[in-house]
């Protein structure tokens, strides 16, 4: 029990060091106020202890000036902490464009990871060091939450939509991966390992594994098999909106309003097409909920996103 007894977690990602700095700043602020209150209470309690039972202290009702001071000073400090935290949070919320894209499916009590090149892993995630990695996650049943303490990142994994998270590992090694949102009987066994490797060894691992077909290829097959092209072929006057170059674009909706076409929009349009109808098109698309598994939806979404690259290359 005594051999490995850390008191502070490893910092193994670019975000970790920034979060730790903010953490220590707040810690110092808290320590200062706690010590201030403790010493004041302690000294007053000793200095003004009751000497005789009939002692009657002078009445002091209060001072407005002091009230204002100890309202505004904490408020100012609070706003500094808020701004610092908010800036860092927004940076954490948006992955860089060139990040390595990995897909995660959370299922009651295991994590399934899928690399675009086709590698599949259960409860283990191999990532290269020094390169941003973007995770697009969804759950097959209840709410889970992917938490890697060493990277200081955590995001809930929801049924019915995608959530995203990103990190850039800075130290090769093996780190804990936890499920942080209570999800049932074996919530505490839904754990895994993140293995951070040198880029060279990572490519070797990527190539070596039983690399089945890439996600895009499987997505293309499913796209053809479900006959999506019959409506969505990119010719003008097609019955469905063109999907080429759709990812990341802003889509105008019927009845006003617009939405950014991110992974969640693509998934929702397959499972519940009536929710958001593109302006200028009829709501005739049937729902594919139940016909396509969670992995199938991933493959279709990756294929649609890959269309975007093809258009750019042409």
């Amino acid at each position: 029990m005594w051999e490995n007894f850390p008191l502070f977690p490893e910092a193994a990602s670019t975000a970790a060091s920034r979060v730790d700095r903010l953490f220590f700043f707040i810690l110092i602020v808290c320590a200062f106020f706690t010590l201030l209150i403790f010493t004041l209470v302690f000294t007053f309690a000793i200095r003004y202890r009751r000497r005789s039972p009939s002692e009657r202290p002078r009445p002091i009702s209060g001072s407005l000036r002091l009230e204002i001071v100890w309202s505004l000073v904490p408020l100012a400090i609070a706003m500094v902490i808020f701004a610092w935290g908010s800036r860092l949070y927004v940076a954490l919320a948006r992955p860089p464009a060139e990040a390595l894209h990995i897909f995660v499916v959370g299922k009651q009590w295991m994590w399934k990871f899928q690399h675009i090149e086709g590698q599949r892993e259960i409860n283990e995630l191999h990532v290269p060091v020094g390169k941003p990695v973007r995770l697009t996650m969804s759950s097959e049943d209840v709410i889970h939450s992917l938490f890697v303490p060493a990277f200081r990142v955590k995001t809930d994994v929801l049924p019915g939509r995608y959530t995203r998270m990103w990190f850039e590992a800075t130290k090769p090694g093996t780190y804990h991966l936890f499920c942080a949102e209570y999800c049932g009987t074996s919530h505490s066994e839904m754990r895994g390992r993140v293995v951070v490797m040198e880029p060279a060894r990572f490519q070797e691992w990527l190539g070596g594994g039983r690399a089945g077909e890439s996600l895009e290829a499987r997505g293309a097959q499913l796209f053809a098999q479900l006959g999506c092209a019959s409506c969505h072929e990119p010719a003008p006057g097609a019955r469905g909106p063109s999907l080429v170059g759709l990812f990341g674009k802003t889509v105008e909706l019927q009845g006003g309003g617009s939405v950014t076409a991110d992974e969640t929009y693509l998934r929702e349009s397959i499972v519940n097409p009536q929710a958001k109808i593109v302006s200028g098109f009829q709501p005739i698309m049937p729902t594919y909920a139940g016909q396509v598994s969670e992995e199938g939806l991933l493959q279709l979404v990756v294929y649609i996103m890959s269309l975007e690259e093809k258009a750019a290359r042409k």
């Binding site: 948006r94 990812f247 009845g255 939405v259 950014t260 929009y265």
Partner: protein
């Protein structure tokens, strides 16, 4: 604690006038629903309903003769409902705003 004077209940005639107004407003809200007001249809329906609710509150529930304290609680109810709806809506409306990729 000056309580509301007893005799301040609305007279039978006022009640009938208010009742008639309420029936007319009900008719109006049904008609308004069949006219294509586009995105205005919901605000119109809600404002008619709000007017009807105000009439019932002001006359039938005698808010007219009530002290300030009753008003505070009547308004607090609506204000807290607005907090619940407003802040929850702030999450749903702004979900699509953040573009998926940085730069």
């Amino acid at each position: 604690m000056s309580a509301s004077p007893h005799g301040s209940h609305p007279t039978a005639r006022t009640c009938l006038v208010i009742y008639a107004a309420l029936i007319v407003l009900t008719g109006m809200t049904i008609l308004a629903a069949f006219i294509d007001l586009g995105s205005l249809s919901t605000p119109v329906a809600l404002s008619i309903a709000g007017l009807k609710a105000a009439l019932v509150g002001w006359f039938f529930m005698n808010l007219r003769a009530e002290r300030g304290l009753t008003w505070v609680y009547a308004i607090a109810g609506l204000l807290w409902l607005a907090i619940l709806y407003g802040l929850t809506l702030s999450d749903y409306v702004t979900r699509g705003w953040l573009s998926p990729l940085a730069g």
